[in-house]
């Protein structure tokens, strides 16, 4: 398995979740554990670019895959545009759901670009606030930073369009 570009070799029991493997075995603690049952999205990571709930995935299923966590989004000191936008628009408070929100947003924008539909989609290609909210609803934020998160994503999506 590659984690944030580095090859990792793990000898683990088949029941260990990808989330626990990352957090407890590899010390990659960016992905958070909020519910351990796929309900909160705090553990969202990218597996070969696709967003998944790492708590619902067994680590052994991801043998040979490329896993990207929040730690892998910035290049050196340069933040990923979404990370910078989350700070600028205050799309966070306690910070615990934030890595999941940002990873989810990265993949969500890619899904949208690829034309994947959503339940509220009206016109393909348009990313309204309602679209963002619908597509991000798997990521809970109990502090209620939702407005800031939507603003951050809109900001970055706008940059992409330009």
């Amino acid at each position: 398995m590659r984690v944030n570009g580095a090859a990792e070799s793990l000898d683990i029991e088949p029941w260990v979740s990808l989330l626990d493997a990352l957090r407890d075995r590899l010390g990659v603690t960016g992905p958070k554990k909020g519910c351990d049952q796929g309900a909160c999205g705090a553990c969202t990571v990218l597996a070969d670019g696709v967003r998944i709930n790492a708590c619902l995935a067994l680590a052994v299923q991801y043998d040979g895959k490329e896993i990207t966590t929040i730690e892998g989004l910035a290049s050196g000191d340069d933040l990923h545009p979404l990370q910078a936008a989350f700070i600028r628009h205050d799309g966070l408070q306690c910070g615990y759901c934030t890595p999941g929100q940002i990873c989810s947003a990265v993949a969500m924008l890619a899904e949208h670009r690829a034309g994947m539909p959503s339940a509220v989609m009206e016109r393909p290609g348009e990313l309204s606030e309602a679209e963002i909210r619908e597509r991000m609803s798997g990521n809970l934020c109990r502090c209620g930073a939702y407005n800031g998160i939507v603003d951050a994503i809109k900001d970055v999506a706008g940059q992409e369009v330009r």
Binding site: T29, C35, Q93, L140, C143, Y146
Partner: protein
């Protein structure tokens, strides 16, 4: 009071950072995964714990079979009441020892065979891996002798007894004969409301890592009260406070749940001592529901009588809440009715039932959030009865002084909040007839409600250090639970000292730091600000004293009050010098000063203030809902919160706090409820898949504004804002639903 306003204005002239929408100082750490939360530290040899929860509401443990659990490879220890050494019992609650108030429950875990609630931890498994501990915990077999248990709040509610009040929290109140006035009122409403139990559901579940080194203990904890936790652990484990270090630099949300000390924390420390290993316990989400108390359910009656013009002649507000037989707190549910309306007569009572359930605890705006739902819904219903606009009804009854006792308000701007808010929200476009506004299949409704939360402060010790290289370090054991506490204190210190924000570092989250206030009751920012202001003033005095010793200093002969702190130094007009120059001349590498409030001095000041004034943050909520005409589904489509929260220090983090309160209030109104099985006392929906907290799709754009007029009695004129946002929210939603549909929501 006028002089205080003048002072504040003068100060504002020099303001550079306070009030600005400054980015969070920890934004980078939190968006890159660098920020480490309690469960994310690693120690060599660290073992992992899992809890076994009781499955009966009340009883005695007859037998515990740990054999199968112990047989699992990797299991280190299984602690039960049969083999665990007893901790010292929980201290009796006393106002003189605030940390005693931090006991989540009075149960001495694993020192008794008694079960007091369904979910009480009855065994702890310690193993080499978290998976092993969890699996082994599932193999522990416990046999109980069940005892009769009282767990059904709805059934017990009629048997409630009068709450006991105290100086700070009265449980009853009367002004005139409200019962007679209600009977005589030409127009009246008399409504019964219910609200369900709720849970905080901070996205970070509670977690503890405990490391013993001889008699010294280090604890990483997700806590809102570092100082109380340390004091509490010292009592329970019989070691001095100085032998304990609590580290909690990042807390993944609290909302009240991480205020008290619960079973998980204590049992982790116990397990670490018994196994002589560092032990981590990261509670499962279910574990949080089983061991951490939540918001009490309530039954409330609000009856209002008015004359035909809408002047209130009677206000009756009574409540019933629960507490656990093994702890909890009586909630001040009728508190809003003490402050909001100038009724000729008032009758207030708070009653209580004790149940064999886990202790309840504070959850964002305890009392005020649920109490405002009932009072503000009843006001809306009265407006409907009278045929008066609900804002007009509120303005008719807006008091000049505190209704119960005639005390002055330090500051009250609800009229302005409603006036400015109504204009901004477009309230005039509201057709008052129920069901009259439609948008396709949606019935559209608009509602208002008042937000109100008392403002308090707690003692805070702060030190500020200024180094010769210009760096400033503010130190205070504050808790960053998402409010941006380090950011706002940095802004305050930068302005007070006249230095750039970038040179100020704020150290928080460590019991080795000067003792901070807990993050609760909306006290943290104001309490710490008082300390920062005092420390900065002392620091400038020290700097000035050093400068005045030098014959060539342009500050010679000057008094601090004549000087302006700016550009990294002290100036009188164009003449002055930098701190760096002052320190260099004096051959000093730093200056340090402390702001400190002793508990006794603090209590005296607080009581004195309470005798004179009533102080609160407040606001007006404007809500628009859409109700599906066929399914009855309610969607909140628009929101404006117009607040009076004194001076705002950081426009970005303040807006976030107020919005966050509104989001949680929308959850309270529409989707949140902890379901307790009335037969067994077991929580039936202990998870985020069955307890619905608002998701992105539930939350519209929330417009948050404030009047930004400083409170004359608070440091920098600021009022705490962590809780006022949620008060009144559920009522605003319910009132909008009433407008959309003609139906009054009585049960949340």
């Amino acid at each position: 009071m006028t002089t205080k306003y003048a002072e504040t204005e003068q100060r504002q002239a020099a303001v550079k950072h306070v009030g600005r929408p400054v980015d969070r100082v920890d934004g980078r750490a939190k968006t890159t995964g660098e920020a480490r939360y309690a469960a994310e530290h690693r120690y060599p040899g660290m073992a992992h714990a899992a809890l076994v929860h009781a499955t009966v509401a009340r009883g005695r443990i007859e037998a515990v079979d740990t054999e199968a659990a112990r047989a699992v490879p990797g299991v280190i220890e299984v602690l039960t009441h049969e083999n665990a050494p007893a901790m010292k019992p929980a201290p009796k609650s006393s106002l003189m020892n605030p940390s005693s108030l931090a006991s989540g429950t009075t149960v001495n875990y694993l020192a008794t065979d008694e079960v007091h609630w369904n979910g009480q931890p009855v065994a702890v498994v310690v193993a080499e891996t978290p998976e092993t501990a969890t699996h082994a915990a599932s193999l522990v077999r416990v046999a109980y002798r069940e005892l009769p248990a009282v767990v059904d709040f709805a059934a017990e509610e009629p048997n409630a007894v009068q709450q006991k009040g105290n100086v700070l929290q009265p449980a009853a109140g009367d002004k005139g004969d409200a019962v007679a006035a209600l009977a005589a009122a030409p127009v009246s409403v008399d409504l019964r409301f219910t609200t369900p139990p709720e849970h905080h559901n901070a996205i970070e579940p509670h977690a503890t890592i405990a490391v013993w080194d001889g008699d010294h203990l280090t604890v990483h904890e997700s806590t809102q009260t570092i100082a109380w936790l340390r004091a509490h652990l010292a009592l329970r484990f019989g070691i001095p406070e100085r032998a304990i270090r609590v580290l909690s630099p990042y807390v993944g949300g609290g909302f009240g749940g991480k205020g008290p000390i619960w079973a998980g924390t204590l049992l982790t420390v116990l397990a670490a001592r018994e196994t002589a290993r560092p032990v981590r316990l990261a509670l499962t989400r279910e574990g949080v529901y089983r061991t951490v108390g939540g918001r009490t359910p309530t039954v409330q009656r609000v009856a209002l009588g008015a004359d035909n013009d809408g002047d209130l002649t009677a206000l009756i507000h009574t409540s019933v809440t629960m507490k656990g037989r093994i702890g909890g707190m009586p909630e001040g549910v009728v508190s809003p009715s003490r402050h909001l309306y100038d009724a000729a007569t008032i009758h207030l009572r708070q009653r209580l039932v004790q149940l064999d359930l886990l202790a309840n605890t504070a959850m964002r705006a305890p009392g005020d959030s649920v109490g405002s739902f009932a009072l503000e819904s009843a006001m809306d219903e009265l407006a409907c009865e009278l045929g008066i606009d609900p804002i007009e009804l509120r303005m008719r009854n807006e008091p000049a002084r505190n209704p119960m006792d005639g005390k002055r308000f330090t500051h009250r701007m609800l009229r302005e909040a409603y006036e400015v808010g109504a204009e901004r929200f477009g309230w005039r476009e509201r057709d008052p007839r129920p069901g009259s506004m439609r948008d396709g299949r949606w019935l559209v409704g608009m509602g208002v409600a008042t937000a109100y939360h008392p403002s308090l402060m707690l003692p805070a010790d702060v030190t500020v250090r200024l180094a010769a290289d210009g760096g400033v370090v503010v130190r205070c054991g504050l808790q960053e639970i998402g409010v941006g506490v380090a950011t706002v204190q940095a802004q305050i210190a930068a302005d007070e000292l006249g230095v750039p924000l970038e040179v100020v570092r704020v150290e928080i989250g460590d019991s080795e730091l000067p003792t901070g206030p807990g993050a609760g009751g909306s006290v943290q920012t104001a309490s710490a600000a008082a300390g920062v202001l005092e420390a900065c003033r002392k620091l400038k005095e020290s700097a000035l004293a050093l400068a005045r010793r030098a014959p060539d200093s342009p500050l010679r002969g000057r008094r601090l009050d004549d000087l302006e702190a700016r550009d990294g130094g002290l100036y009188h007009g164009g003449r002055g010098e930098t701190y760096a120059a002052i320190l260099a001349r004096a051959g000093r590498d730093h200056l340090e000063a402390g702001g400190r409030t002793g508990m006794l001095k603090f209590l005296a000041k607080t009581l004195n203030e309470r005798r004179r004034w009533v102080k609160a943050a407040s606001g007006a909520h404007f809500c628009e809902v859409r109700v599906d005409r066929d399914t009855g589904e309610v969607r909140v489509s628009r929101w404006l919160g117009m607040f009076d929260v004194g001076r705002v220090i950081n426009a970005k983090t303040a807006a976030a706090q107020l919005r966050g309160g509104i989001v949680m209030g929308i959850g309270m109104a529409l989707s949140e409820a902890t379901q307790v099985d009335p037969r067994t006392g077991r929580i039936m929906n202990p998870g985020l898949s069955e307890y619905h907290v608002p998701a992105h799709a539930d939350i519209p754009r929330i417009d948050v504004r404030w009047l930004d007029v400083p409170d004359p009695t608070m440091p920098l004129g600021l009022l705490g804002i962590g809780e006022v946002g949620i008060t009144g929210v559920a009522a605003a939603v319910a009132n909008a639903v009433r407008h959309a549909t003609g139906k009054r929501v009585l049960d949340l």
